[in-house]
Symmetry: none
Amino acid sequence: MQARADSVRNRRLLLRAATEAFAECGVDVSMHTIAQRAGVAKGTVFRHFPTKDDLLAAIMMQLLDRLREAADRFLRADDAGGALKDFMAHGIGLLAADRAFCDVIGRPSLQHADVREAIDRLCDTVEDLTGRAREQGAVRGDITGTDIVLLLGGIHQTAQPLLDREPRAWERFLEIAFDGLRARDRATLPHPPPARLRMADPSGASAPTGK
Amino acid sequence: MQARADSVRNRRLLLRAATEAFAECGVDVSMHTIAQRAGVAKGTVFRHFPTKDDLLAAIMMQLLDRLREAADRFLRADDAGGALKDFMAHGIGLLAADRAFCDVIGRPSLQHADVREAIDRLCDTVEDLTGRAREQGAVRGDITGTDIVLLLGGIHQTAQPLLDREPRAWERFLEIAFDGLRARDRATLPHPPPARLRMADPSGASAPTGK
Amino acid sequence: MQARADSVRNRRLLLRAATEAFAECGVDVSMHTIAQRAGVAKGTVFRHFPTKDDLLAAIMMQLLDRLREAADRFLRADDAGGALKDFMAHGIGLLAADRAFCDVIGRPSLQHADVREAIDRLCDTVEDLTGRAREQGAVRGDITGTDIVLLLGGIHQTAQPLLDREPRAWERFLEIAFDGLRARDRATLPHPPPARLRMADPSGASAPTGK
Amino acid sequence: MQARADSVRNRRLLLRAATEAFAECGVDVSMHTIAQRAGVAKGTVFRHFPTKDDLLAAIMMQLLDRLREAADRFLRADDAGGALKDFMAHGIGLLAADRAFCDVIGRPSLQHADVREAIDRLCDTVEDLTGRAREQGAVRGDITGTDIVLLLGGIHQTAQPLLDREPRAWERFLEIAFDGLRARDRATLPHPPPARLRMADPSGASAPTGK
DNA sequence: AATGAATGAGAATTCATTCAT
DNA sequence: TATGAATGAATTCTCATTCAT
């Protein structure tokens, strides 16, 4: 149980390389490229992640756990509204580094039980964060944690075309969105709060491969 | 010129088939599938669109032009604020039908001069629409047409994970966003209005293919 | 419908090359090798035979049909016993050219409906041939066509280790076997006549892959 | 020498596991599977058997030696004809348990000097057995031990397609074959007795790997 | 001596694109 | 001009074998 030193190091190298590769090139980077970028042989990638989707899942989990940790940290702040907004800023920053995030939505990797659980955990923690903001009257009464999680991705996507030239453009859209979230003398939102995220359905019809 | 008539017809069939195929299956549908769905041979696809990216570009242009036409129509309404919101709803609806939209961001197809022009045209028209809303005090003073165009995609993406089960969930996020856009006793937005959309840069670093 | 000239030629080249390659090297020859030997590109193999098993099936069918044609021809002879033996000799000769025959037993290619039908057809025709020999008292009363078909392969396998140095050694074993088949004052054979050939069962247990 | 004890034990475990694995799954089982089934690490397999072919050879030798031991035992019986037949039944039973037997014919593993010697030893012993039967007039005068060894494999192969559903079908074909072997008022067999088994030639043409 | 991580050649298969008919 | 056959680079994944611990 010592020989693992190399293995652990390689796993770390692989995750880093894959994160970067997916972020830069999208989900279509080849496993070969990822191996190269990690400085290991192809076979090593597959030893650590038996399929490409496993690798994608591992990376998604990394991201999701990082987001949840952040949410956890912001839970301690007194000003719940400010904390929520700060969390969103932080989260969008994480996403901004990852071009793959968009491609990955609706992918089989999201079917991984582990990923699903990580999403659930994230939504739960963010719900706590959001609940406090709601109670303090900082956001509308019918905003949920899932709304916030979805907005993270959405705001990131909104600013993405500008990412190269104006890397902080998302701040503008976060401001707009957060302004829309604020409690006010407004009617209820037109569509009910989103259900638990269950991502794409594996069974045919809704997301055909159509090859 | 009988041949020309056939050719025109084929082009139309191809565009329709490709639009549907990309929408349903994402950008990874094979040219073969598209040819089949259009009822023509593979060679014919390549006669009309020398590369797959050309085809994608053509379809993006279609979408962009359709959006612009819609914006044009809404230009005639009296209530500029309502018209802007209605336009957004209409635009997001168009996007929602298109699974490829996300995949396509940052693709070389967006480098096509034609697509760039179509984007510019769209932004111009939406800027007119937005300008009127701004003047009527319906939205903040520093909101531009480009903001709106970006939000179209962003709101769509926000609701995308729910698309299968709650196809109209975007209405909720449009409401939130539009609420954030509204003129009010608020400070200026934190980031300057976005520049003209220039999408991803073809030269290396920012959007490598990384194969 | 003219462009097929090349295609037809290629299909023929492929079948020939594949037959030889499988015969010489066994079922593990790569599709690449087969393509090379046929003088076509790898992609062409897959255009004609979507999977390796399809190719194997096609080749098995060739062999089975050739066997059946032979059986058909021998059906016309007057001396039914001699005809049966001549057919066996002819069939074993066909098999002797094919090293793959053994490997292929129990393979998924034999699950192909077409192959199954070809086997059935062969057994039917050979049953006719055998029936006549039975009636003429040339072979035991409880010998069936399926016995004969099985013996074809078995006799071939018996002599196979000698194939390189004594290519006609199978004649010796055919003589022995046929002698054992002859009608005589003997008790019934110990095991009931074999059922229809249904080859290996696809469902796990009996032929696990065990990777 | 504690280590040596472990080593011997591992070798035994490996041989057992490999025998079973090859028998069940054919020669394509991975070394990994074999290691697992033996409860050792992959490296250990290679320490004992430098290549897969060495392992296969070791297993073939086991089988051959087991067959020879059986032949030896039957040598003691008085009724030489019955003993020969009983030996064949016993031998075919051993083969029937082994799905790999067919795959292995013509493999480089059979080139191993050790395997060749084991085959020779087997043939010698069976020749003794056969000689006695010949002398007692129980089988034709020109039947050799090598004939019998070849028939072992051949009869097994004949019944193999039925193995799943009728595991004792080989009894039928043994009866037929043995009937053909019996001494009688018949002419000499058409082909001279087979030479020593020299299996496939390693040098090119006759058994190319053809990759 | 045993372990199991790393290696890298190679397999089947896909697909955009080219080109002969 | 339309067709669809041919091409061959690229992809994911497997596995025998090597080697550091």
